[in-house]
Symmetry: C2
Subunit: 140 residues, 2 copies
DNA sequence: TATTGTTGTTTGTGCATGCAAATGTATTTC
DNA sequence: GAAATACATTTGCATGCACAAACAACAATA
C-alpha cells in the first residue's frame, strides 16, 4: 500500500509528526490570540528581558528575518517594545505583554497536558528529548 | 539557559527536527529540480498511476488544496497529466515525468544515506518509525 | 582618518501549506 | 425526475518561514 511505501522516510515521518503537533499547539494557543511561535517568543523575552534579537533567534532556532517580523508584529499588538542599542535591538514585554503571559503559560501547560494524555508522562518526556536530540544531530 | 527552557516542549523539539530534516531533504532533492514534497508526489503517482487527488492527499497527508496546487505545478512543468473522470481527477506521469524519476529515486536514496551516515542504519530506521508512530498517535 | 571587514537587523521575495467558501458532479430521497 | 445531500476539486485568502541582498553600526588595520 502507498502509505507504507513512505513510512520509512524520515523527512516524511517528521513532516507528519510536525503537522500533528503544530495543529495541536495552534489549538491550545488559540486563547492567547497568538500562534505558538509568537507565544514562545514572548516566553523567551519574559525569561530574559532586554534579550537581543540575535539571541532570540538562537534560542528559538529561527532565522533573523523571521525574528524581525515576529517582533514587529508583537510590538504592533503592544505586547513588546524594542529599544535599539547600537546595532542591536533589545526586546522586552510591555505591561500588556506581562498581563498576557498568564494565558500563555496556561496554554503552554495545556499543550503539555494534551500530549501527555495521549502518550503518558514518561513517554512524552522521552519522545520530546529524542526529537530534540535528533534535531540537534541532524542540523549542522 | 534559555534553550534548555524550551527543550522539553514537544512542539518546539519537533519544529527543530523538522527544519533540520527538511533542509537536508531540500539539498538532496535539488538535482531533481523539485522540492521534496513534489518529488514524493511524483513517486506516489508512479507507484499508482491514475491515482486520484483524494488518494494522493491521504497518502502524503496533505490537504486537498495543497494537492491541487502541487499537481497544477507538476502539470505545468510537463511531468504529469491529469484526466478528469466524473468529479475526480486522476493523475499520471508523462514520459518526461517518467524520465525524471531516475534522478528522483537517486535523490531519495541520497537523502536516506545522508541521515544514515549520521545516525547509523539501525538508529535511522528506528527513529523514523518512532516519528511516524508518534505522528499517527497525535493526529486525530 | 579612510578603508575594509564583521556582525546584527531589515527588506524584498518566494514558497508550502492550511482553512473556509465556492463550484461542480454524483447519489439519495421523496 | 426534482430537490436535497454528499463528496472531490478548486479558489481566495492568510500565515509561517526561509534565503539573499541591502543597510547600519562597529571594529580593525594600514
Amino acid at each position: 500500500m502507498l502509505e507504507s511505501y513512505f513510512q520509512n522516510c524520515m523527512f516524511f515521518a517528521s513532516n507528519l509528526l510536525n503537522r500533528a503537533i503544530t495543529k495541536m499547539a495552534e489549538e491550545e494557543f488559540k486563547p492567547t490570540g497568538l500562534s505558538p511561535t509568537y507565544a514562545f517568543m514572548m516566553m523567551a523575552v519574559q525569561e530574559q528581558p532586554g534579550i537581543t534579537q540575535k539571541e532570540l533567534g538562537k534560542a528559538l532556532h529561527v532565522t533573523p528575518s523571521t525574528i524581525t517580523r515576529f517582533i514587529e508584529k508583537l510590538a504592533y499588538k503592544g505586547l513588546v517594545i524594542t529599544r535599539s542599542e547600537g546595532k542591536m535591538s533589545r526586546v522586552e514585554l510591555t505591561t500588556l505583554g506581562i498581563e498576557r503571559m498568564e494565558v500563555i503559560r496556561e496554554a503552554w501547560k495545556s499543550l503539555f497536558r494534551r500530549y501527555v494524555a495521549i502518550l503518558g508522562k514518561e513517554e512524552g518526556r522521552n519522545m520530546t528529548k529524542m526529537l530534540y536530540d535528533l534535531g540537534k544531530q541532524l542540523e549542522d
